[in-house]
C-alpha cells in the first residue's frame, strides 16, 4: 500500500515535470492587461482633475450661494402705475431690475403708465424715470427715507406670510 503510494506520487511528479507547451501570445496578452490597470500614480493623475472640479464646484456653492439667488419660490405680482400725461416715456427702475431703465419700460394708456413685475418676498427700492432724465417717486407708495443719491425713491415690500 505504502509502495503503491510512492509510485503514484512519482507518477504525479513526472507528470508535473513534463515541459509544458505555452501559448506564445500569452506574455503579450498579460502585458497588455497589466498596462490597462492604472498604476497608483496614474490613478492619482486621473483623480486630480476630478478633485479640482469638485473644489471649484464647492467654492461656487460657498461663494455664490445659489440657494439665496431666489429669495423665495413664492413670488407676488405687483402693479406699478404712474399718471404722467405729458411724459414721452416712463421706465420703472429698482432693486428688482438692477436699476436698468431698459429692463422695465412702462406702457401708457391716455397718460396712465403701468407695468407689472413679479417679486419675491423682500423690501425693494424703486423709482420712475420719466423721459430718461426726471426721477419721480411713486405717489401711491411709501417714500424711501434713506435716499443717499439726492433723488426721490419709493419702497415696496412683498411679505412672505399672508400678504
Amino acid at each position: 500500500m505504502f509502495e503503491q503510494d510512492d509510485e503514484t506520487v512519482e507518477r504525479v511528479i513526472q507528470h508535473l515535470r513534463r515541459p509544458m507547451a505555452m501559448d506564445p501570445g500569452l506574455d503579450a496578452r498579460v502585458m497588455r492587461e497589466i498596462a490597462r490597470v492604472p498604476s497608483p500614480k496614474r490613478r492619482a493623475r486621473l483623480l486630480l482633475p476630478l478633485l479640482a472640479v469638485a473644489a471649484v464646484l464647492a467654492t461656487v456653492l460657498i461663494v455664490a450661494r445659489p440657494w439665496s439667488w431666489n429669495r423665495s419660490s413664492k413670488t407676488d405680482v405687483q402693479q406699478f402705475v404712474l399718471v404722467a400725461p405729458q411724459a414721452a416715456s416712463v421706465a420703472l427702475v429698482g432693486d428688482f431690475n438692477d436699476w436698468d431703465p431698459a429692463r422695465s419700460p412702462m406702457q401708457t394708456a391716455h397718460g396712465v403708465w403701468a407695468t407689472v413685475v413679479r417679486l419675491a418676498p423682500g423690501r425693494y427700492r424703486y423709482a420712475f424715470l420719466v423721459n430718461g432724465v426726471e426721477w419721480r417717486a411713486d405717489p401711491s407708495a411709501p417714500a424711501a427715507k434713506d435716499d443717499e443719491f439726492g433723488t426721490p425713491s419709493s419702497v415696496v415690500t412683498v411679505g412672505g406670510r399672508g400678504s
Partner: protein
C-alpha cells in the same frame, strides 16, 4: 492648480459683471466692500443694488462708495440684532427700520415675539416713520401687533394710519387710535374662524 481654480472662482464671483457700470476706482472700492461683507457672511445683493442705483442716478463715485459702506455696516448691525439665521430680506428690512430710528433692541424684541419672516413688520415700522410717525410710537405699534397680525393686517394698519395723516391727523395720534381700534376689532372677532374677517387683498405697494 486647485488654488488657482479657487482664486479664479473667487475673483469671478467678486467681480459681478453688473458692476461694470461703475467707473474702475469706484468698482474697486465697491468690490472691496462686497468682499468684506461676504467674509462675514452678510448678504451682498442689496449692496450691489445700492451701487447700481447710484450709478444709474449719476451719483459720484465717492457718494456710491459711502452709501455701500454704510449699508454694509447697517446690515451687520441688523444681523447682530436679529441673529445669524436672519434671512437677507429680513436684514434688508431691518436696515430700513434702523435708519428710521428703531433701536437694535426693538429689532431683537420683534424677533422674539414674531416668527420669521419679519420683513413686512420691519418694513411697516420703517414706512410709518417715513410717514411722520415718531420712531418710538411706530415701534410700539408694530411690537403690539406683531405676535398675532398677518402681513396683510400690518399693511392695512399702515395704510389706515397714512390715510389719517393725509386727512390731517397728527401721526402719533393716528397710530395710537388705529392701534386701539385694531385691538377692539380683535376682541370683537374672538371666536371667529381664523382669518374669516380678513379676506385676501390684492397686492399693492
Amino acid at each position: 492648480m486647485i488654488l488657482a481654480a479657487l482664486l479664479l472662482v473667487t475673483q469671478a464671483a467678486a467681480q459681478d459683471p453688473r458692476l461694470e457700470r461703475l467707473d474702475p476706482d469706484t468698482r474697486l472700492a465697491v468690490v472691496a466692500v462686497l468682499d468684506s461683507a461676504r467674509d462675514v457672511g452678510l448678504p451682498v445683493e442689496s449692496i450691489i443694488q445700492r451701487a447700481l442705483e447710484g450709478a444709474t442716478k449719476g451719483a459720484s463715485g465717492a457718494r456710491i462708495v459711502a452709501a455701500v459702506r454704510r449699508l454694509a455696516l447697517d446690515l451687520g448691525t441688523a444681523r447682530a440684532a436679529l441673529g445669524n439665521s436672519a434671512s437677507a430680506p429680513d436684514l434688508e428690512a431691518a436696515v430700513a427700520a434702523l435708519r428710521a430710528g428703531a433701536t437694535p433692541e426693538v429689532l431683537a424684541h420683534l424677533r422674539d415675539v414674531r416668527r420669521p419672516p419679519l420683513t413686512m413688520a420691519l418694513s411697516v415700522l420703517a414706512d410709518l416713520v417715513a410717514s411722520g410717525v415718531p420712531a418710538d410710537s411706530a415701534a410700539a405699534a408694530v411690537l403690539a401687533l406683531a405676535p398675532k397680525a398677518r402681513d396683510a393686517d400690518l399693511v392695512e394698519f399702515r395704510r389706515a394710519v397714512e390715510r389719517d395723516i393725509a386727512l390731517g391727523a397728527p401721526p402719533g395720534a393716528a397710530t395710537s387710535v388705529r392701534l386701539n381700534a385694531g385691538a377692539l376689532d380683535a376682541i370683537s372677532n374672538l371666536g371667529a374662524p381664523n382669518g374669516a374677517n380678513n379676506p385676501p387683498r390684492r397686492s399693492r405697494p
